[in-house]
Symmetry: C2
Subunit: 241 residues, 2 copies
DNA sequence: CGCGTCCTTGACACCAGTCAAGCGTTGTGG
DNA sequence: CCACAACGCTTGACTGGTGTCAAGGACGCG
């Protein structure tokens, strides 16, 4: 299944017509090698795009070189829809591994929204979920201790990947260096390293070689105080469009 | 001028017709006393609303009672447009002083968007700015030290209030206790107190009695590493709808 | 082989959290 | 009118979670 169709089906399953229309609305796939920026902070934004494969992240660079990772983009995640109303990008998007992306014009999306109410709602849902995740990150970085934060990030990533069907048993792709982990959690890379070792020693997870393997999800969730409500994966049938 | 008109005019000045249509789309004003929640975490969302007067905040409560303030809502800020696609609220909205709010239905907004392209773009801009601010908060809490964070929050608040014409010289409303300040910055209230005293002693600002007074904006910005790009207040004429 | 990247470890310093106590103001009820 | 509680602010002493510095090891790659 097409990554975007799979993603939007999390909100509500799409029929063949909707899925086809969606795929046709996308521009040609473009390849972005690992560690390259898809778009750069400060640029004038042009088109939105959808991540088709790989994992990318939003990140912000401070003047003095500090870096904060703001979110992870997974296959099917769309990015910067309607951003053309802004004059300047306030953050970059970095491919963490080799990625393929496809551009989408706002016109194509407007057409889809007008033609297919379910797609409109699904795109809307995706945008709201992304905002919700951003808010959870604020709370995560602001309130939780280093180990809680790390556990929370891993829980979130695994849940998101699992919802997309991108897990392999207890494992999933998470192509971060320990420096990246530190920059995502707002801790130093040395501290990230020590936290990882603690988790490993406790037998909660394994992390390395670009993959996360969760060995004891229950305890990990408990450490994180993880509650997946904010991912809004269970819209319940009552609310499906 | 109506608060919402004033806010959206930051993107692009509205003509009389647009302003009138906008005001008519709003439901009756409702009063919310200070310290009361406008909407509560866990509730099923119904309608969106616009803050007409006062200051409110989004906040998230963790299971163990920790609290994180996620953002401040200023007059004209709209809230949760289109949230009806979600099954459950992931955060609360709290009135920090007495507020008045007005509800808006998604239908009314859809109509306005269809009828007035400029309003559509302006609403879209407002949503993107809010997301941008959320991302900046992640970077703020994740990367900056306590004093940098505090300085940054004050700079941001003053800039936003000033853009809305809600400042009184170097002063503006900021109705937070020191506990609130701590919860917004992710520091303990005791530490928030000490940071405030530092700033006071340095003659950078005064804070108390629900008001912030900035005495040396240049230095404060410098301490914060503040760059207002992310507020997207200067869309430049080239991009105005 | 030599270099770069990433991971690991130990020693030390410090920012910020916690605990505990005290003060001023406000509001309320006897 | 005063006693008292509630709240918010302030201060000091102590602790501890994290950051910093420094060094070294493992691995891949040109």
């Amino acid at each position: 299944m097409h990554p975007l169709v799979r993603k939007l089906s999390l909100f509500s399953p799409l029929n063949t017509e909707e899925a086809t229309a969606l795929e046709m609305a996308l521009g040609a796939a473009r390849h972005v090698p690992a560690k390259k920026e898809v778009v750069r902070q400060g640029e004038e934004p042009r088109v939105a795009f959808v991540l088709l494969s790989g994992v990318a992240c939003r990140q912000k660079l401070l003047d003095d070189g500090r870096r904060q990772i703001l979110s992870f983009l997974l296959p099917g995640d769309s990015c910067d829809i309607g951003i053309a109303v802004l004059a300047q990008r306030d953050h970059s998007i970095l491919a963490l591994v080799d990625c393929t992306v496809s551009s989408v014009t706002d016109e194509a999306l407007d057409y889809l929204s007008a033609q297919y109410p379910k797609l409109r709602n699904a795109l809307h849902w995706a945008a709201l979920v992304e905002e919700s995740i951003a808010r959870e990150w604020i709370a995560n970085v602001g309130q939780r201790s280093g180990s809680e934060r790390m556990a929370h990030m891993f829980c979130e990533h695994y849940c998101r990947m699992e919802a997309l069907g991108l897990t392999d048993g207890p494992s999933c792709l998470l192509p971060l260096t320990q420096i990246d982990v530190g920059d995502a959690l707002g801790v130093s890379p040395i501290h990230a390293n020590r936290l990882l070792q603690d988790f490993r020693r406790l037998g909660l997870l394994a992390f390395g070689d670009k993959h996360l393997t969760i060995l004891n999800f229950d305890i990990l969730k408990q450490v994180a105080g993880f509650d997946d409500t904010y991912l809004h994966l269970n819209q319940l049938d009552s609310r499906r469009a």
